[in-house]
Subunit: 199 residues, 2 copies
């Protein structure tokens, strides 16, 4: 036993992430266990601790990758002439289509008072960049930091609407309701924001 060297450390790391994501997609975050991951990649538990310091580390990497996937999703569906509303609805769509992974972003939290790693926050922030660019483009009156604040506010709001949807049972009706909320949110917020007086 031992010393198989069939896969490099990097390959094992990728395999772990891949099967872990499959588990979360299919059975949800609560079903994610080391032994299950080990069995699925054909190694034993100890191997996972060669490539991740612990479960928390592994989970943070999956969460970071989910933000990357969201960014990708928003980028892919972005067309010329795309609106802020399209972007917000794209976010909601991603959450619905990736329920398990998306819910895990919030079901798992660092312990009270613990720090979130910097590389994680970067991937989190990057998913908001497209919204910043879009607001910036359609606006002349606000300063950069005001656009930044509006971006954060709007994205966090959309997140809140999506969160409420996924806390209930997803159904065609609840999804329709969440979409209506996002549409109303974007519509009202943008109108109010563009009417804001310059300082």
């Amino acid at each position: 036993m031992a010393r198989r060297s069939e896969h490099s450390q990097a390959e094992i790391k990728e395999m772990v992430l891949e099967v872990a994501e499959d588990i979360v997609r299919e059975y949800g975050y609560s079903a994610l266990k080391v032994r299950k991951i080990a069995a699925d990649i054909g190694y034993t538990v100890g191997s996972i601790y060669m490539v991740f310091t612990n479960m928390n580390d592994l989970i943070m990497h999956i969460k970071a990758r989910t933000w990357q996937k969201l960014h990708q999703h928003l980028q892919n569906q972005q067309k010329i002439g795309g609106t802020v509303q399209d972007l917000a609805l794209g976010y909601l769509e991603f959450a619905v289509e990736n329920e398990g992974l998306w819910r895990m972003l919030f079901e798992h939290q660092v312990a009270l008072g613990e720090q979130v790693p910097d590389w994680y926050l970067q991937d989190n922030q990057r998913a908001f960049e497209l919204m910043y660019a879009m607001l910036k483009q359609h606006d002349q009156v606000h300063a950069d930091n005001q656009v930044q604040l509006a971006t954060q506010t709007l994205m966090n709001s959309v997140q809140g609407v999506a969160m409420h949807l996924l806390m209930l049972n997803q159904s065609p009706e609840t999804i329709k309701l969440a979409k209506a909320e996002v549409v109303l949110l974007v519509e009202c917020f943008l109108q109010g924001w563009s009417n804001e007086v310059k300082e």
Copy 2:
């Protein structure tokens, strides 16, 4: 051993909820364990299963009580002439002051595809009622179901902003930022909403 009858079932239930909330407040949801609860109330593990069917049941009751606490908090701080913004900032204030309990509302989720109990949803909804009343009062143009939609949208949005705050480390600066986001959100949303054309 056994047959102490020092406390009624109802009393034990209340004691369990009380110490469980203390644990979550101080150490967070991840520190909530049956054995710890049992030790804190001076009973053994088995006793907890006399009054709750399982941990999930206990947790759902704590979460329901947190919504009740939020409702209470909003009701208490409501003055004559209070604005929508005051209400939204009151929500944020509650989340900051009750970080552990509030975070648990979202850290704990029912399993993928599982149903949320009805009595829980009722307590959740009730915390939104004050906002509905306030929007209704300051508005003449919208139909009831439109006011309902606006209430959901606004409350979920505030929730999203608060969630983002509590995912990071709470600090005077991040709290100030979250407050600014809530203020901007309410201001812009309300202005846009009141300008909406009647159908």
